[in-house]
């Protein structure tokens, strides 16, 4: 039987030292909702698990200072239900409460969630043979291109990969200019979320700007009045318990009835959480109406490119964004 070592770390230092000592095949584990799933599929084959769920302070939620701070080990359910987050930053709360199921949110951490891997069915295949996938086996090709690509991305794709970045929370964090706090053997560092997720390019197996042995310890979100005028809209194949076909995180700072600064990010349509700068630029300085919202939606997808079955995501994505802009706009009144 394949053996597996397991240790529970109490401090970040303990964890990183255990990781270094374990060598090949070491993985950190927190809620386990992604890692166990990928282990069952044979995508992950760890030999050593270092449990970081009970690191000191890992679950800290601090909304009292200049920034909102979420310890990486905070549960999705706890952040989704936090009173300040719900009242002042609905985009964050909604992105969490619309993800997964209550049972999963009770286990999964907000730090682990930003490292969730794609739901591309070719990446996840395995029960009856693994199909070509450059994420899973670099250089093996991409079976999704020319295959059943209804769920694939239309933004940020490459010839090597069209897999969608799956999360909701990372999309909201991207709109809100979050910073990812990381610690590793070389000490702590902060990475703006815009730099945390990589485009697939020729190396789709490299998804995150994080080095082996480093740990995501927290997520900081700058406080902004835009938070109150925010929403996360998620459109999917059923009303709950499904990943997004298209989603939009929108937060608005206003000058009277005009938008001073729009914060917009998209999910379900791109290979990484997708900041929609073109849409933001179009909205800034404008009053919000349906026509303007739809124009912003269309602008966000100006560079989109579809395969055989996913062209609808371009229109759906634009309209989803338009609906989200209208919802956020109503909150400013």
């Amino acid at each position: 039987m394949r053996s597996l070592s397991y240790v529970r770390a109490k401090t970040v230092r303990e964890a990183t030292e255990a990781f270094a000592a374990a060598g090949e095949g070491a993985r950190y584990i927190a809620g386990g909702t992604t890692l166990y799933d990928l282990m069952k599929l044979g995508v992950e084959r760890p030999a050593h698990l270092i449990d970081i769920a009970s690191l000191e302070g890992a679950g800290r939620i601090d909304t009292g200072g200049d920034v909102l701070f979420f310890g990486a080990g905070a549960l999705m359910a706890d952040v989704a239900e936090d009173e300040v987050v719900r009242r002042d930053y609905p985009v964050l709360a909604e992105s969490l409460s619309k993800a997964a199921s209550q049972q999963l949110r009770n286990m999964a951490t907000v730090g682990g969630n930003i490292l969730q891997r794609t739901r591309c069915p070719y990446f996840r295949s395995g029960a009856i043979g693994a199909y070509p996938c450059n994420k899973r086996e670099p250089g093996s090709g991409c079976a999704a291109i020319g295959g059943l690509d209804r769920g694939q991305a239309v933004l940020g794709i490459s010839d090597a990969c069209t897999a969608v970045s799956p999360g909701d929370w990372p999309v909201a964090l991207t709109a809100m200019d979050a910073t990812i706090e990381i610690q590793g053997p070389a000490g702590p560092r902060s990475v703006p979320i815009a730099e945390f997720y990589r485009l697939p390019g020729e190396t789709p197996h490299l998804e995150f700007s994080i080095e082996a042995g480093e740990i995501v310890t927290g997520i900081s979100v700058p406080k902004t009045e835009a938070g109150r005028n925010s929403t996360y809209l998620k459109v999917r194949d059923r009303e709950s318990y499904a990943f997004a076909l298209a989603s939009a995180a929108v937060a608005l700072t206003m000058d009277g009835d005009r938008v001073r600064q729009a914060h917009i990010a998209l999910g379900g349509v791109a290979t990484r959480p997708w900041r929609a700068h073109e849409a933001e630029a179009l909205l800034n300085g404008q009053t919000i109406n349906r026509e303007m919202a739809l124009a912003a939606g269309r602008a966000a997808f100006a560079d989109a490119s579809a395969g055989e079955h996913n062209a609808f995501k371009i229109e759906l994505g634009a309209r989803t964004l338009a609906d989200a802009i209208m919802t956020a706009g109503r909150k400013t009144q």
Binding site: G42, R319, D323
Partner: protein, 726 residues
């Protein structure tokens, strides 16, 4: 006999199940149990050239790795996978070096632990010689059969259609679907009391045990089939599974008990499924809205070797008073595992196509679709000319329309708009399912203590058959449900029929009633007088006998004693829908209200009203539950479900419960159920027709027709998804 006829009684096994005390097939505590795991083929078609088993055999805990070389003695018989009783059909994996479909088991690893079996299976290396294949009926190597499976006709339909004032000619596509019962399919082979005992959550324990014995060359009396509970069957657990005989044979070869629980990812490739089908419907009506002609041609995907029939054409001509009818059903063979019966197997896809087409014709005529159906009601079957044993479809439509408030429907699509801007659509559709029965052997024992034991034919799959059996015994004998023991699904107690096709209640209820009535007669002979109102066990006690036992064979209408012998040998035999003097069907009308979000095309089913004519309602609670479940499936079929096959690989891509999208609670609004509840004593002494299957028939069409009413769009494929309405 004081109980209310359609009592709303709790399920007799509700507490057992809720408390987790009900042991399913894979839960049996068996000493020394070994665990097995299959190695699935990673090609869609070809031959096995070589195995490298070294790594697998070296996994600590692995006892043995079986390949086709170990199982060549297994016979492919008419009971084998996919044969459906036909002698020249069917197949059994691992009896030769052949791969017929992706995911087919090519090796079986048996180990001391499940983990070792899984690791051994993953370490098993197979070299294949691949061959070209087609796994979808639209692809190049798909082979259409030259002759239709079935043709039904009445009158000159082509001529009647040609002369009709109003005509429609449409094609509907139904996708592949997978049953996905929550209880995974498992096989456990153990040795007890000198016999081989197979625990499997099958819907047909006798056919299963007899079939396995035949395939293994065993004396059938030395093999006992036990299906303690079935955690959802829906037709996927009708037959012998791909792994059943392999596990049984492995146990015999190793002389130790072996268990295999097939993982869901593999079940999408080893278990049966509802095959993809196309339906061309041509309907013609005169200026007054009278149906003159129906022409219905269907094509269904099958595997290369299976004997699964294509029966789409059986029900639609019976729905309305068609002046003339012509139907044909054809099959196309592809390289997949065998498809099979999935709840309302052909009636669901055919009702989808034809009930949507009826909606299209009503629209073309400018008639309300309820009025159009009522105007074409019939009390006799257009094909045979025989009357129906009972048909209250018009009452289902009228009562449903009233409960639903159908009068609020606007004929103009999109005319009804919700406060939030969503378009509101109302849809209606009807369904039918044949009234069938099968034989049963029942042994009933009444103890003077009040205890009562019944062993009879039938399987509990959540539909509530135990509660139905209990209801008859409570009504006829007044027994205490707490002192009642019901033994079903076990060939050790009674021969077991295949519990499917909505004949479970129509067979088990008369069987239980028959036995209970006979017991009263015997008791009356013992006491020497007519029975009093006192509890029967008290009257028995007075005779100073500790126990009274009766055994009764229940032979369904139109059959003779030979069916009992067939039942004992595990050979399925059922009746209906045609009987000497009539045709028998259950009927249903569904009404659906859906809302469409205009910006995103999202469809939400707000409410459904379903009114069924299933004869006598045995238990209001389980009956309503069955209809709700059927409607949920109908909604899922309309808006959610499809197995997606990549033609390059021949596998189902969305082979798990996360990606194979079935409805969740948030997808389901109100489902209100009502019954006509008129017993049909022409069919049997309990007055029951079937319900489990008819519940789903037509539900999808009601939703699809509502989508048209909201949007003006006729989407002629399933599921209707966001991109179809954007």
């Amino acid at each position: 006999m004081t109980q209310e006829r359609t009592a709303d009684r709790p399920r007799i096994d509700a507490y057992e199940k809720v408390l987790g005390r009900a042991l399913y097939a894979a839960d049996q505590p068996i000493t020394g149990l070994l665990h097995a795991m299959t190695v699935p083929a990673t090609i869609a078609k070809g031959r096995i050239e070589a195995f490298d088993l070294t790594a697998a055999q070296n996994v600590p805990g692995v006892i043995r790795v079986f390949t086709h070389e170990d199982f060549s003695q297994i016979k492919t018989t008419p009971a084998a996978r996919g044969a459906y009783g036909r002698p020249d059909k069917g197949y059994q994996p691992m009896t030769g070096p052949v791969v017929r479909h992706r995911g087919e088991p090519v090796a079986l690893v048996v180990a001391e632990t499940l983990e070792a079996a899984i690791e051994g299976a993953e370490a098993t290396k197979v070299r294949y010689a691949e061959e070209a294949f087609s796994a979808r009926m639209e692809d190049d190597l798909a082979s259409p059969e030259s002759e239709p499976e079935r043709q039904l006709s009445s009158g000159d339909a082509e001529a009647a259609f040609a002369s009709a004032n109003h005509r429609i000619d449409v094609e509907y596509l139904h996708p592949q679907q997978h049953h996905n019962p929550i209880e995974l399919i498992s096989t456990t082979a153990a040795f007890e009391d000198g016999e081989l005992r197979i625990y499997e959550g099958t819907q047909a324990a006798s056919a299963f045990a007899g079939g396995l014995a035949g395939m293994m060359g065993m004396d059938p009396t030395r093999l006992r089939g036990v299906s303690p509970y079935t955690g959802g069957g829906f037709g996927q657990k009708n037959g012998i599974q791909e792994q059943s005989v392999l596990v049984a044979s492995a146990a015999i070869l190793l002389r130790r008990p072996v268990k295999l629980v097939m993982p869901r990812g593999q079940l999408f490739h080893t278990a049966s499924y509802r095959p993809r089908s196309r339906h061309r419907v041509r309907l013609g009506a005169d200026g007054q809205g009278r149906l003159l002609a129906g022409l219905y041609e269907t094509v269904q995907q099958n595997s290369r070797y299976d004997g699964f029939s294509c029966d789409h054409g059986a029900n639609p001509p019976r729905m309305y008073g068609y002046g003339a009818w012509l139907g044909s059903d054809r099959i196309v063979r592809v390289d997949t595992q065998t498809p099979g019966h999935q709840r309302a197997p052909h009636e669901h896809p055919s009702s989808y196509a034809t009930e949507c087409a009826v909606d299209e014709l009503a629209e073309a005529l400018g008639m309300d679709p309820v009025e159009f159906r009522l105007a074409n009601d019939t009390q006799s079957d257009p094909i045979t000319g025989k009357p129906f044993s009972s048909r209250h479809l018009a009452d289902c439509l009228r009562r449903g329309a009233e409960l639903f408030d159908w009068n609020r429907r606007m004929r103009e699509p999109g005319a009804l708009v919700a406060e939030n801007g969503d378009l509101i659509g109302f849809g209606v559709a009807c369904g039918s399912y044949k009234g069938s029965m099968t034989a049963a052997v029942t042994r009933l024992r009444l103890f003077a203590s009040g205890r009562c034991e019944i062993a009879t034919s039938g399987h509990e799959m959540g539909q509530g058959i135990r509660s139905v059996i209990a209801a008859e015994l409570i009504e006829v004998l007044g027994v205490d449900p707490a002192k009642l023991e019901i033994r079903i699904g076990d060939t050790g107690y009674a021969p077991q029929h295949i519990t499917a096709g909505s004949w479970g209640t129509g067979s088990a209820a008369p069987a239980a009633r028959n036995a209970a009535v006979k017991l009263r007669e015997e008791l009356s002979l013992l006491t020497g007088s007519a029975l009093s109102e006192e509890p029967v066990h008290v009257q028995l006690a007075r005779t100073r006998r500790p126990v009274l036992e009766v055994t009764v064979d229940t032979i369904p209408l139109g059959k003779d004693a030979q069916v009992i012998e067939q039942l004992r040998r595990g050979i399925p035999s059922t009746t209906g829908p045609e009987y000497p003097d009539f045709m028998s069907f259950s009927w249903i009308a569904h009404f659906a209200e859906i809302h469409v979000e205009t910006s995103t095309g999202r469809v939400r089913v707000k409410r459904v009203v379903s009114v069924a004519d299933c004869g006598r309602v045995m238990n209001r609670r389980t009956a309503e539950s069955q209809v709700r479940g059927g409607v949920v499936w109908g909604i899922g079929a309309a808006l959610r479900e499809a197995g997606e096959t990549d033609r390059r690989f021949g596998g189902v891509l969305n082979n798990d419960l996360a990606e194979y999208v079935v409805p969740v609670n948030a997808d389901i609004g109100a489902i209100d159920v009502d019954f006509i509840d008129q017993p049909d004593f022409k069919l049997n002494m309990s007055g029951v027709k079937g319900l489990g299957e008819v519940a789903m028939v037509g539900a999808t069409a009601a939703v699809v027709n509502a989508v048209y009413n909201a949007t003006g769009r006729r989407v002629r494929h399933l599921p209707i998804r966001i991109e179809d309405l954007l």
